[in-house]
Assembly symmetry: C2
Homo-oligomer: 153 residues x 2
């Protein structure tokens, strides 16, 4: 199978990158997962200019990743919350953060640590197989022509 | 804690995005995980121009994600292979692909399916906690000031 024939619209990576494949977009998304919701708060925490922030928030709203919800009248002000579609980007964000922690941290010092409230421990995110629960290794994963998952199992 | 004070160099997302935060870079990386190794093969499969491909491969080599290895003499030709640092990006790639599969596939049809050779099944990648093995939900993850993981456990 040639990827070229598959076309960009058919490729999950290409389509996902069309939504999140921008430096500021990813940094805005990271803030969303840290419960930042208001324009001024994004601005202050990221040190991003107003036009760039407005543009990235607008694109994330258009992509259905964030929703814009009024929190004040007179004047009307909005905040930005992750939709389910946005919340589902959490594994992408955790995977990116973890790779950075492991490969780009200096002397093993991590900029932030993550704690899992469900078990109370500091943790690393681990990608596992939905069927056997074993951690996934790149060499153990193969691709097959598409379809509905489970059709060919 | 303010992210702004943390500085871009201190933020794992910012640093990781500086390596992979580009549409073509991610598409080249996807090809690497599909065992594409040679310049012409990348070019044919991606439909990418030579200068753009050369630039992205060079950047991935400089970032230590790919290594350039001669496979032929007279004339010398090189192929590109994932380093361990590159292989460790597999969870990032799987997370991106899975999000695209779930949220951008048409009518439940996936462009490709993934099979886990270790167990033989088609699977979805699931991000779990390294400590309790439960699937991670965004609302169950909190961040804390940095350090070595485990220092404060």
């Amino acid at each position: 199978m040639r990827w070229r024939e598959l076309g960009e619209e058919e490729c999950s990576v290409a389509r996902t990158v069309s939504v999140i494949g921008d430096r500021w977009t990813l940094l805005v998304l990271r803030e969303c997962f840290l419960r930042t919701r208001r324009f001024e708060a994004f601005q202050e925490r990221l040190g991003i200019t107003r036009p760039v922030l407005a543009d990235r928030l607008q694109k994330l709203v258009e992509a259905g990743v964030l929703e814009r919800i009024p929190y004040q009248e007179r004047p009307v002000r909005h905040e930005y919350r992750l939709t389910q579609r946005g919340l589902d980007l959490h594994p992408v964000m955790m995977a990116i953060v973890h790779w950075g922690d492991v490969h780009m941290a200096k002397d093993g010092h991590r900029p932030v640590l993550h704690r899992h409230r469900a078990c109370g421990h500091q943790f690393d995110p681990v990608m596992v197989c939905s069927e056997c629960a074993a951690p996934l290794q790149a060499r153990d994963v193969t691709v097959e022509p598409g379809g509905r998952r489970g059709d060919a199992r």
